[in-house]
């Protein structure tokens, strides 16, 4: 395993612990999806994206739109670690007056490229950012992370059609495909049948990866960076909801539940041991 991969794996452990600490302290938040998307978010912020914590509005920065806004603790953990805001702010999740709202607010928190929380809309906003980049002949790219449950939303498919229509090869849609949505397994609530085939049919270049294998994540990003071919990119990342904490893994009940003190200590210990 190379040095970069092991560094990123350690960083992902740190972010997982930070996110769980935030949710535990707030006694509110969404641990399951925060953990399933942790490795992807880590790879984006600590390897792939060009962002500047000292200049969050840098016009040429890469954009990240967390369309599944409810897993913002994992994004806040990354932003705090990078220095977009003082790390002590991480202890204020969901508190009155905090920049760390229950769902991300661009007007309150540095590093948030657009507010999200209402599912599906972030993907469409991200297409707008990518389109502006193309029209302005800029090199920045736009990454958006969605849940597989979020693919129920019609606006996502509208956004995908427009990404194809405007040949946005600077647009990267990543699906945190953990198989669960709020009310149960996606296959039972609203089956997506074959997301990768659908994305390909919508004109996307598709990458199927294990969303917890750091090497696979980086390899996909390497290929995407090189593929300036007019096609928008789709990463179908197979993940495990609650990844890294055994009693949370693949449990719908941990979608939006905060751990108690005993569960929290157990979870942190498990991540430390991994």
């Amino acid at each position: 395993m190379n040095e970069k991969v092991s560094m990123l794996k350690e960083k992902a452990k740190e972010l997982r612990k930070t996110a769980l600490t935030m949710i535990f302290e707030a006694q509110s938040g969404h641990p399951g999806g925060s953990l399933s998307s942790a490795d992807i978010v880590t790879a984006l912020y600590f390897s792939e994206m060009h962002v500047d914590p000292k200049n969050p509005q840098w016009p040429d920065r890469d954009r990240f739109v967390l369309s599944k806004g409810h897993v913002c603790p994992i994004q806040y953990a990354a932003l705090g670690s990078l220095g977009f805001f003082p790390e002590e702010v991480l202890h204020t999740l969901r508190q009155e007056g905090s920049m760390l709202q229950g769902h991300p607010s661009m007007l309150k928190c540095p590093g948030i490229d657009i507010s999200t929380g209402s599912l599906g809309q972030g993907a469409s906003c991200a297409v707008g950012m990518a389109l502006a980049g193309k029209r302005d002949h800029k090199d920045y790219r736009v990454f958006t992370l969605l849940g597989d449950g979020e693919m129920d939303e019609g606006i996502v498919w509208e956004a995908m059609m427009s990404a194809n229509r405007y040949r946005l090869d600077n647009f990267v849609m990543i699906v945190d495909n953990n198989g669960l949505q709020l009310d149960g397994p996606c296959d039972q609530i609203m089956p997506h049948i074959d997301l990768s085939a659908k994305a390909a049919a919508f004109g996307f270049e598709v990458y199927d990866i294990d969303g917890h294998d750091m090497q696979q994540i980086l390899d996909a990003f390497d290929k995407i960076r090189a593929a300036k071919n007019g096609k928008p990119k789709f990463i179908n990342a197979k993940t495990v909801k609650g990844k890294g904490v055994d009693f949370m893994e693949n449990q719908v009940s941990w979608h939006g539940t905060a751990p108690n003190a005993e569960q929290y200590a157990d979870a942190i210990a498990q991540i430390d041991r991994s």
Binding site: I114, G122, V127, G128, L131, A132, E158, M161
Partner: protein
């Protein structure tokens, strides 16, 4: 454009947006496959690099526009008022207003002007629904000249805005040199017996009613309340304090539009009386525009009658 000429406010939008677009490369038009009706065809031809068409996908058009605005663009997302206010409503709330982004929702076919299309296309709730959302500015010009001036003002003023235009030709009532400020009503006539506050295409009705009232010895003040939100409280207060009898006129449901906004102010003032003229909280049907106005009492005759007997 000479006074009295018949031309629709949507033409004012279509003509002015090309001019502001030529002057400012950040001005974008985002169409949802209804550009021909909304008069953006000239913009599409003249400024293709500033033009986007997302197809029949209002939700995407709205949220995509918000994304454009985060990069400094000033998108005007364009459709019919009923779709622009209701189909796009949540994207307007979440991604334009909560974010306070510089996006303009520019809609034609406001009120019952899409008359023969029937109730599905008539926008009678848009002003009320949108004025409830924090940060938004809500505007409806009364004629072609004011439409052009207010489109320019909207392009030059930061913030999310809803601009409501209409299908049918209405007479030009303003001189070309008339100035408009967002949030400041225009006093078209002064009077001491009754105040008529109107918005959009009904301003012409208010003016006609005021002329008729004058012949009956009643003097009416007429305000063009082109900005519904923020409401020109100063102008409303002056009507309350100077006159005390106010008639509101709008091509919109009597619930939560101009009449309601004026009533809110008047109720808090604790004096003055308001009579609301507008759509009578009912859906329309396919019928001539003037008939739809008439069955709801949005007529010169009804304004005159209310002025004489309504208080």
């Amino acid at each position: 454009m000479e006074k009295g000429k018949m031309i629709a406010t949507r033409d004012g939008f279509g003509d002015e947006i090309v001019e502001v677009g030529k002057e400012n490369k950040d001005i974008y038009v985002v169409d949802v496959d209804i550009g021909k009706s909304c008069k953006t065809a000239k913009f599409m031809k003249a400024l293709p690099e500033q033009y986007v068409n997302v197809g029949i996908a209002e939700q995407n058009g709205a949220a995509l526009s918000a994304g454009l605005a985060t990069t400094g663009k000033i998108p005007f997302v364009v459709t019919y008022a009923v779709f622009g206010s209701l189909r796009m409503c949540e994207m307007i709330r979440q991604e334009m207003c909560y974010t306070n982004l510089n996006v303009k929702i520019a809609c034609s076919h406001g009120g019952v002007t899409p008359a023969n299309d029937g109730a599905s296309h008539q926008a009678i709730e848009d002003l009320g629904v949108l004025r409830t959302i924090p940060n938004i500015t809500v505007i409806q010009p009364a004629d072609y000249v004011s439409a052009r001036k207010l489109v320019r003002a909207a392009a030059e003023t930061y913030g999310p805005m809803y601009l409501r235009f209409t299908r049918d030709a209405v007479p030009v009532i303003y001189d070309e040199d008339q100035e408009f400020t967002i949030g400041k009503a225009v006093r078209l006539r002064d009077g001491k017996d009754v105040a008529i506050i109107a918005i959009g295409d009904t301003v012409r009705l208010a003016l006609d009613a005021a002329r008729e009232l004058e012949s009956k010895g009643i003097s009416a003040r007429v305000l063009d309340m082109h900005t519904l939100k923020p409401l020109d409280n100063e102008a409303v207060d002056a009507c309350i304090n100077d006159i005390g009898k106010i008639i509101t006129v709008e091509d919109h449901n009597i619930i939560n539009g101009l009449g309601s906004a004026v009533c809110e102010r008047t109720a808090e003032a604790g004096k003055g009386k308001v009579v609301r003229i507008g759509i009578q909280d009912c859906f329309g049907q396919s019928a001539p525009y003037e008939r739809l106005l008439a069955v709801n009492g949005i007529t010169v005759e009804n304004i005159v009658e209310k002025a004489m007997k309504g208080f």
